[in-house]
Structure formats: C-alpha cells, structure tokens
Amino acid sequence: MTDITTNLKTESHGIEVRGVNKDFGDFHALRDVDLIVPDGSMTALLGPSGSGKSTLLRTIAGLETPSTGQVLIGGEDQAKKPVRTRNVGFVFQHYAAFKHMSVFDNIAFGLKVRKWKKDKVKARVDELIDLVQLTGLGRRYPSQLSGGQRQRMALARALAVEPSVLLLDEPFGALDAKVRKDLRTWLRRLHDEVHVTTIFVTHDQEEAMDIAEQIVVMNEGQIEQTGSATDLYDRPANEFVMGFVGEVNSLGGKLVRPHDTEILPEPAPGTVEVEIDRVVRLGFSGRVEMLTVPDKKEVWAQLTRSELETLDLESGATAHVRPRPDAVTKDDTGALEDAFREESPATRRPIPAEPGLPV
C-alpha cells in the first residue's frame, strides 16, 4: 500500500481565510472569519447546525462567494477563480455519486474532463481503487455499494485530480456509528500517506478530536476558538467551547467538567446541595448521577473506583458538590443552552455510557 501511495503525493497548499463575511439576505452566515490551515494538516470545523461551518467550507471551495474578505490557497487569492479551476477536492455528505457511471468512471471523471490519455487514466484510477480499498469493484455501480464504499469512491474521485486541498462536508454524517468510526480512522491513515491539506466539517466533537490536528469551533457564524483537542479541552476560550467540546455540568452558575466535580459528604465553601439519584459502576471508573436541591437540575460526576468506595454513596442520600480546586470552569450565562436548543436531534450529544476522556 505504501508503494502505491508514493506516486499519489500531490502538491499540497495551505489555506488562509481573511476577514470573510457571508450574508444571505438578512442572515449573517459568516462573521469576520479569520483562519489559517497549515499546509498538509488536517483541520476540523466543529459546531452545531447553523453555525456556519458548511458555509465556510463551501466558501473555501468557491461554491459560495464571500460578501467581503479573501480566501487564499497556497498564498494565491481565489476571488477570481471559479470552482472548476480551483483544484479543490470536495466530498459531500450524501456522496454525490454519479449514479449512471461505474465506480471506475466516477473516479475517472475529473481525469477525462482534463483530457488525460486513456491508458494513463486507467493506471491512475486502478491505483486509486486500490488505495481506497475498492479493488475488484471498479465495474460496479454506486447503487451496488454500501454507504461506506460509496464515500470511499467519492474520496478517490476527489483525490484523482491531485487537488491542492481536500474539503469534506460532514463526510461520515450519513453512515451508521460503526462504519463512521472505521472510516474516520481510515481517513486519518490515508491523510498520513497522502498529506494533502484537509478540512472536514463535523458536528461530532469526538470525531473532530479523534482525527484532526487543529479544531475550529464555530457558533453563529463566528469562530469561537481554534486549537488542538487538548487546547480546547483544557483551555476553552469561553463557555460555548467548554460546553461543546467535552461534557459539562452547570453548578451554581459555573460550568464544570464531570471529572472536575467533587462530591463531599458535608457542606463546604462553594458547595451545592444535591440528592444522589443513581450510582453507576463501570469497571475502573464510575458515574454518580445527582439532582440539585431544590431545583432538580441534573448533575453528574465521574469518579475513580477508589473514590467511589471511599464516599460510599447510596441513592436518595444527600451530598454536596463543587468544582475541584484546580478545575477548569466558565461562568454559565445560559448561552450554551440557547445554542443547543436550536439544534436538530441528530446533533444533540447523548451522555456516553462510559464517559471517556479524550487524551
């Protein structure tokens, strides 16, 4: 596999977005967006639906024209470049497979419109079919492929034309959980081999943290914070980022992570009274679900097994919680709730059965 991809290294370019605004009538889809995507890196645009992440991606591709501001690819202003000469690889959530063409012809499309010679097209397409692990399926039609296979075909099609950047719009959004996880690991490995500057849009924080080197958190058309997964988790710029990246409790007007939530048997400075609702032991770690007194807001804490044993909590008992002394906290102004309320159910994050910490 490695020898195949040595020929596939493309001339990659960094991306720069400078002061981009995009209005649709009265709606401000993007506000003063500045972004630098380093050459050869993998960046995630993360945010709830309607946050402008897809619009930003489409603006970089040239599918939308910014109202003001500039998009540079490889240092070159793209304002005068139409989509078809921008040389971006674009992958759609719903694959956008050419249904009347075989897998081979789908992947060959960009090469054929560039008037490549037949034998060169064949060599290149065969190489890509192997790269995306669709070997032997070249004569199939998209309707005969699974969702994951279709998306890999779409990726091969985008990579065929040696794009200077690869842009993916919720590439795994239409796939079921298991396939989604496999495919993102696979994409990460592919990126390590092909090294093309890649931006993907997602509303799934785990997906972004898992494979992106740089994460851009967006909300209401603005960039809230740009940084690595660790930056966002340990040093969130504001309450929105804190709430969107990782789990949070709202505790006495503060946002605090469940693993930074301390449970005490007796009242102490800064504690909030709670009633223990349920204690869940999950092997090494455990989860304590509580309701605040008297307003019955749900709060939960993540503890180690020994902490759980020391505390010896029973459901129905009263306890007192507060952020740990070294905890990351942000003031809770309710802005987070507002941002989530408008979301579609598909993007709401469930509390994971086993709360795992992104490392």
């Binding site: 591709a61 599918l63 989509v83 078809r84 000469t85 921008r86 040389n87 971006v88 690889g89 674009f90 759609f92 719903h94 956008a96 497979a97 050419f98 249904k99 009347h100 499309f109 960009g110 419109v113 560039r114 779409a154 099609r157 985008a158 065929a160 034309v161």
Partner: protein, 267 residues
C-alpha cells in the same frame, strides 16, 4: 375485516378495469374489427391512396420538426425553472402550461390573428413569399404550440429530485458548464426526457383542433392524418377513416414500444 378489505380491493379493481374497458378498449377494439370488415386488401388500398399517403407524410413532417424543437426547449426551460435563480421564472412555468389550459381551436384562431393575411406579420411574410396560414408552416407552428409543455413538465420534477450535488461535484472536478450538463445532468434526467418525447410525439401526431383551423384542411395539400380521418368519415368512407386511424395508432404504439425497448436494453 379481511372480507371487507377484500371487497374494497376487488371493488376498486373492477371499477378500474371496467372504466378502461368501456371507455378505451371497447371503442378501439370495435374500430379495429370494423376496419377489416371488407378484408385486408381494402385496408391496403385505402392507406395507399395518394391523399392518405400525403397526410401521413404531413403528419410525420410535423413530428420530425416539432418533437426535437420542443425537446430542446423543454429541457432548457426545465433547467431555467429548477436551477436558475431568475426572478420571474414562475412566469415561465405558467406560460409553459398555457397550451394545457387553452383550447386548441382558440390556439388555431390566435395563430391566424398573428400570421393570417390580416394578422400582425401575415402581410409582411406574404410580401416575402412566405405563406404560414393554410400552409405547412402554420401546421408545424400549431403542432409545436400544443405539444410544447410535455418535455418540460416531465423533466422538471426529475431535475428537482436529483438535486444539485452531482452537478456541483462535477464542477469541483473541473467540468465546464456544458460538460456538467452533457455528462451528468442529461443522463440523470434521461427517462424524464424520454417520457416527455413519447407524450410530445403522441400529441403532435394526434392534434386536430388547432391544425383544422390553421391548415384550411385541403386534401392532398394541408391535411394531416387526423384531418384525413375526419374527412373520410364525413364523406361516408368509413373503411378509409378506420384504416387511416389504424396507421395513427400503429405510429403511436411504435413510439411507445421503441422507448420501452431502449429502456429495457439499458437495464
């Protein structure tokens, strides 16, 4: 419960089949039988009459001109209505439907107002030596008019259904607007176009009202097949009328069959 359901089901089937049989199959069947009353030789004699052959040629000529023009126009109009962000595109949609709404006779009369000797362009065209009304151009224009909506109406929903993702993908891969249309959009809408062509052809072959008005109905000169059938019937040549009807029916069925074969071969 199941008895009641069965009753409903058989009741519906009966209504559908009875309706088809009484209103479509019976009359067409009777006509078919009636055609061969005097034997097949008579039928062949009737359809090889010079006036009959002329009418057939006239009908085929109008189809050959009207169908390709309306196909190209229909696809273009559908593209504008579905894909463009033009402000008054709803108006185009409304205008396209006009031939559905207006009686063909009225269409014929309005064409006379425009192209007739006393009409807007009639005198100017006559000065150039071009006669539209009571001549072939008038018939062709009338047929184009009445068969105009079909391709657009069939293609519009298909184009809406396929969405823009495939076209956008083609664009990002470097395809020009024409390449995108030719290699992506057209193959995706091909069955809508096909069905539109079948309907357009059927309408063009069968059109009577508008053509009667603009053609003058001159035997051997400006008669299409439906006009010929009507004339034979009026002059009590029922075998002639039925024989020519048979030719019309065979042409229409032939078009349908041809399109079905195309489709089957592809699947």
């Amino acid at each position: 419960m199941s008895g009641e359901r069965g009753l409903t089901r058989y009741g519906l089937r009966f209504v559908a089949l009875f309706y088809l049989a009484a209103l479509l199959l019976l009359p067409i069947g009777v006509a078919l039988v009636k055609t061969f009353d005097d034997g097949i030789g008579e039928v062949i004699d009737q359809i090889t009459e010079p006036d009959a052959i002329h009418a057939l040629k006239m009908s085929l000529l109008t189809v050959i001109i009207a169908v390709p023009l309306n196909t190209i126009f229909g696809i273009a109009a559908a593209h504008v209505i579905v894909r463009s962000d033009m402000r008054f595109k709803w108006l185009i949609g409304a205008v396209i439907d006009m031939p559905f709404a207006v009686s063909p006779v009225v269409i014929g009369l309005s064409l006379i107002l425009v192209y007739g000797t006393g009409g807007w362009f009639g005198a100017d065209l006559a000065a150039q030596g071009i006669q539209v009304i009571f001549s072939t151009p008038g018939i062709v224009i009338a047929v184009i008019f009445v068969s105009l909506p079909f391709v657009a109406r069939e293609v519009i929903p298909v184009m809406q259904e396929i969405g823009t993702d495939q076209e956008t993908a083609a664009e990002t891969l470097g395809a020009s607007a024409w390449q995108t249309f030719y290699k992506i959009t057209l193959p995706a809408i091909r069955w809508g176009v096909t069905y539109g062509i079948v309907l357009t052809t059927a309408r063009a072959l069968g059109e009577f009202g508008a053509v009667t008005v603009v053609s003058g109905n001159i035997s051997g000169e400006t008669q299409t097949l439906p006009l010929y059938v009507s004339k034979q019937f009026e002059t009590f040549n029922s075998v002639g009328a039925y024989s020519a009807s048979l030719v019309l029916a065979i042409l229409a069925l032939g078009t349908l069959l041809f399109m079905n074969l195309l489709r089957r071969r592809e699947d």
